[in-house]
Structure formats: C-alpha cells, structure tokens
Amino acid sequence: EKLFHHRDHSDIASSSQRWARPILEQTAAEQYLSKYGWTEQINWTKIQHQKVENIEDDYRAPKDLLQLIREASSDSKPRQPQAVPTRSVVYIEALKQFQKANGIPVTGELDTATKGAMNKPRCGVPDKVLSEGTLMYNGTSDIANQTSDFHRTTADNNGGTNVTVSSNSR
C-alpha cells in the first residue's frame, strides 16, 4: 500500500494542499543557511543514522500557499514596538558565502536576489557536508579549475569531415 500514518490519509492527500514555507525574512534565512551547512558543516552521515523519534518534525499541516505567504509577509513587516532581530557575524558571513557561491551580489543582506536564490527548488542534501571527518568541498569544486589536456586535431587534409556534430539530445 501507499504508506500513510494519519487516520484521514491526509499525509498522502493531494499535493496541491501542501506548500513549503517561502523564505522571506531573516529567521527563515538563518534556518536555511543552518540547514544547508553554510553556518556550520553538516554531518550528513550522522543524520542518516539518527532515530526518527529524535528528529524534530517541522513538516507543516496542509495550508493554503497564499496563507503561508501572508504569514511570512506579516512576519517581515516591522512590528511596533518589537526590535528588528540582530544579525550575527556568523549569519552575515554565511549569507555572503551563499551569495558568492550563487553568483549574486555579495551584500550580506537578505535582498531580493538572495531570496530568489533561497526560494528556488533545490536538493535537500546540505551544500557543506562533513563526511568521515573531512570536509567534502566548500561549495566550489576544485575540479572546475582543471583544464582538460586532450588532443584535438583537424582532419581536413583528406577532404573528409567528421559528421558527428555535437548533439544535446540522446
């Protein structure tokens, strides 16, 4: 059977009723950066082997997407007399690293471009992962700096040409 846990089968109900919470304010951005290893590398292997009961369930009950956006937008509006949350150095540094890796202006601010990058569909694996005590890359690959040393020659002297033009579809 399709596995479910809720009496009313709501956990396998229509997908249109469940939406991820958009990242529009600092708190959400901090959580994002923490979740994907930008503030501190994630031990992904350890998470894999943790018991399910020990994991905080942050899955949200079905909500309308517009309702979620309204809630997030209202959170971002300055509330009187509450103070604006302070930004830690760690958060700002992580934000800058994220901006640099994503090719957007490094402002250290949760600006529109940064929100756009954070709200893109993405893989759930953290970007900075600690594996077996060794950091696996830091968001950029050293391999990207390698240059290929393969040999290219032309084959026109015989009057023949290689007919295999590059194709992007298999």
Binding site: E1, K2, L3, D11, I12, S15, R18, W19, A20, R21, W44, T45, I47, Q48, Q50, K51, V52, I55, D57, D58, Y59, R60, A101, N102, N119, K120, P121, R122, C123, G124, V125, D127, S131, E132, T134, Y137, G139, T140, S141, I143, A144, Q146, S148, F150, H151, R152, T153, A155, N158, G160, T161, N162, V163, T164, V165, S166, S167, N168, S169, R170
Partner: protein, 426 residues
Amino acid sequence: KKRFLQLLFTPRGQVSANPDLVNKLPKMAFFKPKLTWRLMGEGYSNQLSIEDQKHVLRMAFRMWSEVIPLEFEENIQSPASMVDIKLGFGTGRHMGCTRTFDGNGHEFAHAWQLGDIHFDDDDHFTTPSNGNGISLLKVAVHELGHVLGLPHIYRHGSVMQPSYIPEDSMSELDWLDRKAIQQLYGVCESPFDTVFDWIHREKNQYGEAVIQFITYFFRNELYWLYENRNNRTRYGDPISISVGWQGIPSGSIDAFVHIWTWTLDVIYFFKGTQFWRYDNENDQTYTEDAEGDKYPKLISEGFPGVQGPIDTAFYHNRDQNIYFFKGSNVVIFNVNTNQINGHPKRIIDVFPPVVQNDHPIENLNVVYYSYHYQSIFFFKNNFFWKVVNDWDKKKNPLLPLNGLMPKRKISDQWFDICDVHYSMLD
C-alpha cells in the same frame, strides 16, 4: 575479464581511481562493479505511472554507467536489505527517513551517500517528454551523484548544482562532471574487438558530393559511435550490434575492412573463419552481391593465402594492401592482384618499435586508421601504439618507417567508452 575489477579490490595503491582521494576517504565510493537498485513499492509516485517512473530512473542510472566502470541492475526479488540503492517517493514524514519533506517547492529530493534516494511527491515531477514541472530525470541523475559520492558543485553546467535549473532539463554529464566522478571510480578500460572509421558520401545542401567519416568502437555485443570533436561517445550509446548492424554477427567481431580505390568500394566484416560484405546503401549485409558472391564466405576463399580466424585487419590506401594480423605475424594481401605479397612476416619486423621493448609483439585486438588523427593505431588490451606517419618523420627523420611509437592508454585518447548492464539496452 575486466582488469579494473582487480584494481578496485586491491586494498592499497593500485587503483584506477585517484589514489589520494580513495585512500583518504575510503568510504566515499562503492567498491563493487555492479550495484542493484529498486523503486520501493510503498514509495511509488502518485503523479506518474510506475512504468514511467522506472523508465526514467533506469535512464538516470544508465547515464552514470556510461562514464564510469559501474553497472546498475534493477532488483525486484531479493530482500530489500540486499538492495544497494532504494528509491521512493514520499511526502512530509516519509519511509522512516530522518529528514522531513517540506511540501510543494524548495526541497524536491534528498539522497544519502552510498544509500537511498527519496523524492518529494509534493513536487510536480515530469518525464523528459513533458516539459512542464521538474524533470524527474535531472533530479534522479543529481541524487544518484550524491549516492555515488559527489557533493554539490557550484558550476554552471554541472548536474550537481544544488538548485534546479529548468532551462536545461535534459542535461548530460559534461566533461568536468565526468572527471569528478571518475576521480572516485576511475575510467572505463577494456579491450576492443574492432574500431573503424565509416566512410560515406553524401550530398551537401549545394548538391556537392561530400565525404564524411564516423568513428565506431565495437566490444563484445555492443558498439559506440565516438564523437572525436567532443571527446566522448554519442549520448545514449552503447547500442547492441544486432540493432545497428543488420546481418553481421551479434558480437566479437574480429575486423572491419573498407577497400576504397578508384574501382572498388567494398566493406567487409570478419569473424572466425568467415567474412561478410556490407551493403552501405541498404544498411545490412549482402546475402549475395552483384558479382554473384554469397555471404558469409570463407576468408580463405575470398582472400587466397589468408587463413582465418584472424586477430584483426586493416586496409592501407597508400599501397592498396590489406594487412591481416594473426598471432605474431602479418600477411599482406594486394586487392588489385588479389593475392598475398610474399610470406607471412613478423609484426615486429614490418612495424618495428621506436623504443626498445615497447611493442605489442602479437595477438593484436585492433589496427585502426583514424581520419581524425590521420594515423594508424595498434590496440592491444588497454593500450595503443601509434604508427609513425609522414608528419612524425618530418619532425624526427630518425624515426623508423612504420615504427610504433611508445604505448599509451587507450582511455587517455578515447574517453568514456563504457559498458552498461544488458538490462539497460533497448
């Protein structure tokens, strides 16, 4: 038997993958040549048919298999604990996973290194034929990259970018992605049966006759079209020989010869004691050609003085001879006189080594003239020797005529010619 299997299981040192990386991070990669996978029954997507899901996942596995010496086979029978990679779709809290999905948007999947893959069924996955939504193929290729040991890579064009890029929903593994995974698993190395450039004439848009060549590699029952300009095989290869070449034996071809003179344009395939003539126009072998010759035919009948089976052969348009190689000898057959020139000669005498003791000696796999490199190559096992050509002689007049340059690895010049599991062939 594939030599790389011995290399992979060697505890230290002689591994075809990057030894520094493998020794420092021994658990980064699978150390088996074949992995099993299964789409879990309780993890089927609600959005696509089971057949579509499996078809896309199979393609994703195949794409990695095409660039590393690793095969993947779907396993639907063994206990789940014996399956290497389990895949499934879920929402929210799913399949006993410690990481909860977040609904439509944001995270669409996650994977565990050397482990399983979960897709968020709240996200709208589509098959390659349907452009709307998130390409399941692209996501699966990405997540498989994690399972195999790759992290996120912030490089334009990489399949391991963390965010989903819809513009190139059918992205292939580019050069750098291939090198990244090959640092963990090494490159594909296995002897070939035959390699040749297929010459044919076509008319261009102006009606002018144009001569074109296509490079093919044959091994066992499979063949690849090799794109010299792109330093890789055609996307989607290998293909079964029986699918692409009608009428020739379905595997283990010994040689290909294309005799091309002012008066002759004939293509032959050799296997065992027989040979077949190929009809280029109709893309299949002749059973009987215009001259009344029936095929297959005994090599000794078609080429008096030559006894099959042979190791390999090639046609040299410079002297209009076919060179038949067998054991440590070569027999030279003239296509104009239709008879052999003298007695069998030692390969090492006709094609001497440039560097002492660096010579294949005998039992060649392939002798191949490349129009791309304008050179003749001798293949044996995983190595090749280039025959000295005019350009080499101009650079260094001391080189012996028809000498064999020092050996090099085939995989250093022709890249990523990898087998895939037979279950992934059409």
